[in-house]
Symmetry: C2
DNA sequence: TGGTACATGTAACATGTTACATGATTAG
DNA sequence: CTAATCATGTAACATGTTACATGTACCA
């Protein structure tokens, strides 16, 4: 029963959120998407799956269902220990999977107009994301950790926009 | 037999590379890691799996094994059509999964010194990546598509480094 | 009282990762 | 001859995605 394989990052993130008190799967999903969703995507199925797995491993405990079957999960001491081990171990390298770059890499197989269209679409999405982040930043509290992750988003989106603006006419369109 | 579900991006990328002529799984892996590996990770198992699947679907044809069982795959007309449809359809949004941001988001659960250590390690890796890209860029040909993807890498790594340098002392260490 | 949002969960499948088994060829 | 590298492939598992089934509570 000792030496279970280390937590995956999604499970660890859920445990991290549970440090602030018991939550249901639904609440965890919403909170996670809000707090870490921009750099660590997760969905409903995953949350429930990780919760059952962690309940099985004794890292969380399911409480009695409340109204609407809301079932609060509470982190256990084992869960806190597993989380502490995970966070202490340090994160791996990030993975960037950017399909637009794939399309551009094979750009010679596309009519130039179509490529420019695609590029413009994506630029607009990034513009919106940046605006959203900047707005968020204005209303942010003093927590340096939340600030740092949001700052990353802003720095990233700015860099992407600048990159778009520096693309040659063969790609951006003339 | 018609209306097979659309290609996944990894399969499409392999088809893209096969436009330049038949290649074995091994060569495809090496080429792909070189050409698109920085923004579209793939590994050996995936390559062979996609090749068999695509062979089954008639998008590629396996040739006769040569020395060392090297088995060249050739793109078929159906493969070219599937690739064209994929590239024309346009890419989805990128996914960034950045475990370091997860660690920072939960930074209050770490001793500050340890967090600073982790941050410094990651900064160093990004520094190296940037240097590698810049070096690559110096020897690059005139292909605007390859240039654009490499420029993305450079813009990204520069933004990440700047972000590192702007982190507050609670995170970077004093 | 009917629609919308809440809430849980499962099933099926796609994709990604790691490890292993097998053998050929080449370089030293 | 032997170690390293080349090369293919499979197995097992982890993770991510999509779709569906089921039902509850709230609000207009």
């Amino acid at each position: 029963m000792p030496s279970e394989r280390p937590l995956n990052s999604t499970a660890a993130a859920l445990l991290g959120l549970l440090h602030d008190g018991p939550m249901t799967g639904w609440d965890l999903l919403a909170t996670a998407q809000l707090v870490i969703g921009d750099f660590w995507a997760l969905n409903q199925s995953q949350v429930y799956r990780e919760l059952s797995a962690m309940a099985g491993a004794g890292l969380v405990e399911a409480g009695d269902p409340g109204p609407r079957d809301r079932r609060p999960y509470t982190i256990t001491d084992a869960g806190r220990a597993a989380f502490a081990a995970w966070v202490r171990r340090g994160p791996g390298a990030e993975t960037v999977r950017f399909p637009l770059l794939l399309t551009i890499a094979f750009g010679r197989h596309l009519p130039p107009g179509r490529l420019a269209e695609i590029v413009a679409e994506h630029r607009a999405r990034h513009r919106e994301r940046l605006d959203g982040y900047v707005e968020l930043a204005a209303g942010l509290g003093p927590d340096p950790y939340a600030r740092a992750t949001l700052d990353f988003g802003i720095a990233y989106e700015r860099a992407v926009l600048d990159w778009f603006d520096g693309l040659p006419p063969e790609i951006r369109g003339g």
